[in-house]
Amino acid sequence: MTATAARPPSKVAQIFETMEYGPAPESAKPALDWIAAHQPFGLFIGGEWVAPGGGTYTDSANPATDKSLAKIGQATKEDVDRAVAAARAAFPSWSATPGHVRARYMYAIARHVQKHSRLLAVLETLDNGKTIRETRDIDIPLVARHFYYYAGWAQLMASELKGYQPLGVVGQIIPWNFPMLMLAWKIAPALAMGNTVVLKPARYTPLTALAFAEICREVGLPAGVVNIITGEAGTAGEALVNHPDVDKIAFTGSTDVGRHLRRRTAGTGKKLSLELGGKSPFVVFDDADLDSVVEGTVDAIWFNQGQVCCAGSRLLVQETIADKLTEKLKARMEKLRIGDPLDKAMDIGAIVSPTQLQEITRLVKIGVDEGATVWQPSWSCPTEGSFYPPTLFTNVSPATTIAQVEIFGPVLVSMSFRTPAEAVALANNTRYGLAASVWSENINLALDVARRIKAGSVWVNCTNQFDAASGFGGYRESGFGREGGKEGLYEYIRPTWEQSGAATDEVEEKPSRVHASQNGRANGHTTQNSKLKTQNYQIDRTPKMFIGGKQARPDSGYSMTVHNPKGEQIGEVGEGNRKDIRNAVEAAHAAEGWANTYGHNKAQILYYIAENLAVRADEFARRLQQQTGVSDADTRAEVEASISRLFTYAAWADKYDGRVHSTPSRNVTLAMNEAIGVLGLACPDDAPLLAFVSMIAPAIAMGNTVVVVPSQAHPLSATDFYQVLETSDLPAGVVNIVTGPREALAKVLAEHEDVDGVWYFGSAAGSKMVEYESASNMKRTWVSYGHQRDWRDAAQGEGEEFLREATQVKNVWVPYGE
């Protein structure tokens, strides 16, 4: 490697013949000097560097050499307490700081990131093992871009987000695969919206976060607005998640940990956003530009060593071109270069840690053992450091472990399909739903498939495109919440009227606004109607459940009595059980075509429901009075409000448009509001008709199908309502009503693996249960934490909050140009 004087044949003459690439290393010295000047690294709390309370430091290693880079402080629980206290102390003034001033700070941060861009890029490469090309050209520029973008939202918050307030102290936990970019995704929107932050970087990759702390000092960010604590997930991370004074947890990482956090925070009232794993499909149709497809796979699965949550790791290829594409892929893989991540001419750097390397090796072995065909290039990897070669599996079926499990390494599994429908089925045959890539020169086909794949980001004829202006986040078990774009802001704000946290002094739920249930008695089983008080012997009326457009008897064969406030029995409803829920969920799935119904038609049906309710307004008012005992005027007002609410969502049905984000270059990024799917709705006892309508109407207006558990105390308004639905042209299965014990039925819904979301308005304990049980399939939840919502107040009872909860945003990237 030493340059020698020319002697025949000179080195230049030799290279002139071989035309090989030579080394092109970026110098590590400035970054190593920076580390030397700063270590051992303490914790950044309240604007100061402080030593970890336990006095413990561990090594952060360079994965390219497996040698130690720096000593990093390990935060204790007490350190986390201090950091949260610092953030709390800073919150009042930071949240009251004018948006324009917050924008100035964030603008300064963006500028400083750019000023130190090479130092940050080299630090990131040293700490993470990713190539300098990526840190220099992708990670760090996107970090700066994110702070610029959200500086803009800080500036605009007061005018564009009226009626919202910051959450408070936000705990943020980020992964090791994009250390500084994930920091930016987390911190920028939080600060823009006036929150203060305690961030824990990943144990493997803390250095750029610590450099960021220095930037916060440089720009004079007020002490405590950003706090950075390094350490173990099990100690510092847990302490942060469990801290009672944290208002929100934002996490990016594995689905297993995300599930743990969902359970940990269940019922606490902490807002939660999770960006989790993926096994994203990369779908190639026979009319695609195959050479560009091949480069797409390089960007999809050999970007960042495949350690990308949205990596296109499942290659789905139309059968007719599968062999041809495989050959092209192999030829391309042969030309990939792996080695020193600081070398500017490397495609693939080091795997983040020996542990991760072992895990990749283990999964690849499973793939081989299960009979898939593995292929790797003929060249060998560096032996020092953690390196793994690009790997292609063919002869894979969905039943293979490697086709289902996230490998988080440079391993591509390839399967073939015959038809677009089969491509979609394969693409959706996964627990995950983070991203997808679709390759076709036929825009009809590409957009159709993009629409049908369940994923938060769909890239047409491209992959792994990121921009601050576009939301990013998952469907299904890839998590919930969005980062980026305007949609990302709502993770860091809440309506000004809304209380934070869970109700602490759990009180008996008030069945109605004006008249609490007498002695809190539950409805008991009855076996006879003898207690029915009647003046004249009327024709027996048996409210049933409403499942799949049909009135259905309860599976249990039991009924529950319904009482008026005086304790008198006024009727009976079926006592629903888990099988009724099961049937209702199946009916709701059978009606999923509702999601594709034209907004105008959905509106027509909602208007028609309102019209038919109006016809029977007197009857519904009487029924409310019978159940709740409230005044005639109040019940009439509730019916009128319900009719109005139906009009509200009929109005919204064709107006809750998506956006077209301004993303780089020649490209449209379509942020489409899509239905979540099958929603379980557990209604409160308060306002038994209005709350019921207020929950159903936005859900179905946005294309969801629903399984509703009406007020347990006052279910008769809901059972009356199915007759309104039956006369309003609503397709069967869009609304299903299961009466019975709300908590038990809500639990079945929350546990159901094929329910996509649950709204629960009830007790704090029930809210906790719903959030906890939802973790099994990471369904979206919206719960009241035991707080009462004033359904009669339009600010609380209707509006965009409901629409947002009824939808998830899919961002479809469509580059164009012939």
Binding site: P8, K11, A13, F16, P25, A64, A288, P382, C462
Partner: protein, 342 residues
Amino acid sequence: MAAPAITRPTSVSQNGHGPDTQVDNHRLARNAGMPLDLGIIEEVQANRSAIERRADTLSKRRTVKKEWQAAWLLRAITCIDLTTLAGDDTPGNVLRLCAKARQPVRGDLLDALGVANLGLTVGAVCVYHNLVSTAVEALQGTNIPVAAVSTGFPAGQNPLPLKIAEIEASVAAGAREIDIVISRAHVLTGDWQALYDEVRAFRAACGEAHMKTILATGELATMRNIARASFVCMMAGADFIKTSTGKESVNATLPVSLVMVRAIREYQERSGYLVGFKPAGGIRSAKSALDWLILMKEELGDDWLRPNLFRIGASGLLTDIERQLEYFVTGHYSAAYHQPMV
């Protein structure tokens, strides 16, 4: 400190000259063309955005430094078609061009680089027909071919018989390479048969002279047209496909080149023939010459790093390369006037 360099596969020839048992006869043979296959033309896809992304990152994914850069720049020189195509060309400036073609780099620099014994020359000298005989005479005693632009260059709007006659005249005058222009109208009207017939006829007229077909990509409107025209020209027997005349408003670009070299690869897979590539027009910096070499190495392989399969049509480029070589040798940034002018 640096990780060990990776082992590269050696099964494919890394070496463009000398006998190589791996190379079959077909690969060494001149492209004979093939019957027009409209199926290939119809199924061509070229996604502009994806192509631009690849072109954009290519030169960010690869770089050569120090000795490697110097060696690659010397290699680039051997691939230059040193060109003058101006209305005011006279024997005087063409003679000067030919002298530079023989001795493209200062002797002291070549000595310092240890490459004086390589007999470095440019790939060819490229002129209008009227100056072919002047150039041929000036290059006597070298192996530097003279290339003539032809067939109504640059617009190609002449009668076909005149185009054929022009080729024949240049060949008769000693041109060993003919850079023809295609009729863009055939591409824009989708008349692939007419394009094929035209280029076939040019190839026949060239005889032993090698034919480079200029697509004038800046006038073909779409990436797909460029890919289709590339295939038709190769099927019709082009030895090289070339981007531009240098006279269009947009000339050689990396994205367009990517489309063309991918077509070359596909054609090789289908026919077995290796077709050369020549970007021309607007390539003025040493850095951009390296970008094109990287493109060739990455997309087609090392065979395409030699003048038999790769040329760069340029004039000012050579001076910038010389400056970079001087900088490598001396450590001082160079001045253009240090280099003997073209």
